[in-house]
Symmetry: C2
Subunit: 205 residues, 2 copies
């Protein structure tokens, strides 16, 4: 049995012990014959997977009424993992979702590190810097590199810390965001643990 | 006599009364025979203009020691325009600079509206929304459109309002940012006024 979280850039697999990624562009899901329990935020791939009987969509296990219509299934499954806290899933996008007493309060979507770096570069090659996640946020910057890092990180930091509740970090860039939010907990397998729980409850035989 | 602010996407001209824009890609600066006092943040174009005698760079009038080495000349000229306040220049990039007692305190760079909208779209076509500048920032969103608008605007809003000093808006997207910061003043010709002042002091005959 495999678990798979399909995001905008990768198929992220979990075999119960280890996780590994395959590129969204080159990977062929029909190359797998095992049973795969998945979630997917990419409409084209979702359609493709409907024709593969061993790929089982965990979305059917979700009570969607607790969330909102167009909310990504990855965000929903992350919220199902905790009772209280902020979940920051840092991938292509950084999604920030707040759960209180097992209720989804709301959330927002911020561009992920790689996409945002590209954005600055596209605006001007003079802004093509690698972000400094340890930039001093208590003082307005006086270098271009810090002006870009501060622009990306300061408001995000102010918003997330304003909730005053524990933060859980997951996703490929969790380590980077951890430099910004050292009090947060990293939980790489948050989504997979939640998927496993859903699978147990809903596909039990 | 003309003034010209050359940014990453346009030549922005001012003839003393009216302003108009030409695309950076198609406009040929040698087509102008009048005297043009300019500032420019695009290195390639700056090099080209060095060979045109009627194009006079206002950067020579600036005491760069008051600022930092790689700071864009447009930001510097904007800062020269005021004694106290926050200047938000909303173009391809949104630059935010704080001036106190005619001293540059520091500033940061945030992606402009158009570039940021493209960024969300590039992450996923499901995030391809036009920003809602009147999104409710006092409550975490429960729709994707608001989740994206809130992601772009909330932290930025928190940061800028934290200074508690008057905000001046300029640049092509000043009207949009004004919806977010209704207490700010729009000053479309801030840069040109500052350029005019510099020209008078420094190129006086």
């Amino acid at each position: 049995m495999l678990f798979c979280d399909i995001g905008n850039t990768t198929y992220h697999f979990f075999d119960g012990k280890n996780s590994y990624k395959e590129s969204i562009k080159s990977f062929d899901p029909s190359s797998i014959t095992q049973e795969v329990f998945f979630i997917c935020v990419v409409p084209d791939i979702l359609q493709k997977l409907q024709h593969l009987q061993n790929w089982k969509n965990l979305e059917v296990c979700i009570d969607r009424k607790k969330y909102y219509d167009t909310m990504g299934i990855d965000r929903i499954v992350a919220c199902e993992a905790i009772d209280n806290g902020v979940i920051i899933d840092a991938g292509s996008a950084i999604t920030v979702d707040v759960v209180k007493n097992s209720e989804f309060v709301g959330g927002f979507i911020y561009p992920g590190v790689t996409f945002m770096q590209k954005t600055y570069k596209n605006i001007s090659k003079l802004l093509d810097y690698k972000f400094n996640f340890e930039v001093n946020l208590s003082k307005l910057p006086k270098t271009s590199k810090d002006a870009v890092s501060y622009g990306y990180l300061k408001g995000f930091y102010l918003e997330v810390t304003s909730y005053n509740i524990p933060v859980v970090l997951t996703g490929g860039d969790a380590e980077l965001i951890h430099q910004l939010l050292p009090d947060a907990t990293i939980d790489e397998n948050l989504l997979f643990r939640s998927m496993k729980k859903l699978q147990k409850v809903c596909f039990a035989r």
